[in-house]
Symmetry: C2
């Protein structure tokens, strides 16, 4: 059984946004890949969206042992297992966000909707396709209450 | 700049499927979490779908340096940058698959649609919500040709 897995960042996130601006769905960021990986982007501009996997490096090591959480600390949401939420406080704090591609130039992709702070190490980017979506999705009531909407538009 | 990131598996994939069966969208697998993480699942059964992040441990180290690829080795698909495809041959071979939850019991989640071989180390599981999907998706012509369909039903 594999005990430890080692990854190296493929690049980093470049954004001027700070604080609450990061979570704004219209937030603009640049995905800056290591220059040696530029060739690996060829053809990515023919997709409209990407799945970005990043390392949430600001999560303190001790928080990776969290088991229960209340999303956004709100009292009107039940205490939940952290795997039932998108909290950064999880055993392997890998962030995963669906973003829109705005521009691809050399080793840089400008995207809309990435909720990662400036300097966040990137682990992978994957093109978003029809296998990444389903017609019928069920989410709990607390999720609808928290997000105040039913769909990403 | 972070040079190395260390992860520990949170569990593994248990499936009887082998070879081509793995890629069948109806493939049934069990996500077996480390028993110490069972509490972290509370509330996950209220979602219909999960995003499963796993470590594609069968990818040889030298293949992680691949820059260009032809999806499924097919001559009728253009030579593409690996970031424009879902090839396992990428710098950090993290697999990401949207699956349907069939049952949650103790530390085990039975799911449909996970394309990971038996014994695959798990990195994270995240509930799938409306922020993980968009109404208008564009994919290249080669993708439609390869998958022979436009939507996951």
């Amino acid at each position: 059984m594999l005990k430890e897995i080692k990854l190296s960042p493929i690049g980093y996130v470049d954004t001027k946004s700070v604080g609450k601006e990061i979570r704004n769905r219209c937030n603009i960021s640049r995905i800056v890949l290591d220059q040696g990986l530029t060739e690996g982007l060829e053809g990515i501009e023919d997709f409209s969206h990407l799945l970005v996997l990043f390392w949430m490096h600001m999560v303190p090591k001790e928080e990776r042992r969290t088991l229960k959480t209340r999303p956004r600390g709100r009292a009107d949401v039940p205490l939940l297992g952290m795997f039932a939420t998108r909290t950064p406080y999880r055993p392997n704090p890998i962030g995963l966000t669906l973003v829109e591609i705005l521009e691809v130039k050399d080793n840089i992709i400008t995207v809309r909707g990435l909720d990662a702070v400036d300097g966040t190490p990137l682990l992978d980017i994957k093109p978003f396709d029809y296998w990444d979506t389903v017609d019928e999705v069920k989410v709990p009531d607390w999720w609808i209450r928290l997000e105040g909407k039913q769909h990403n538009i």
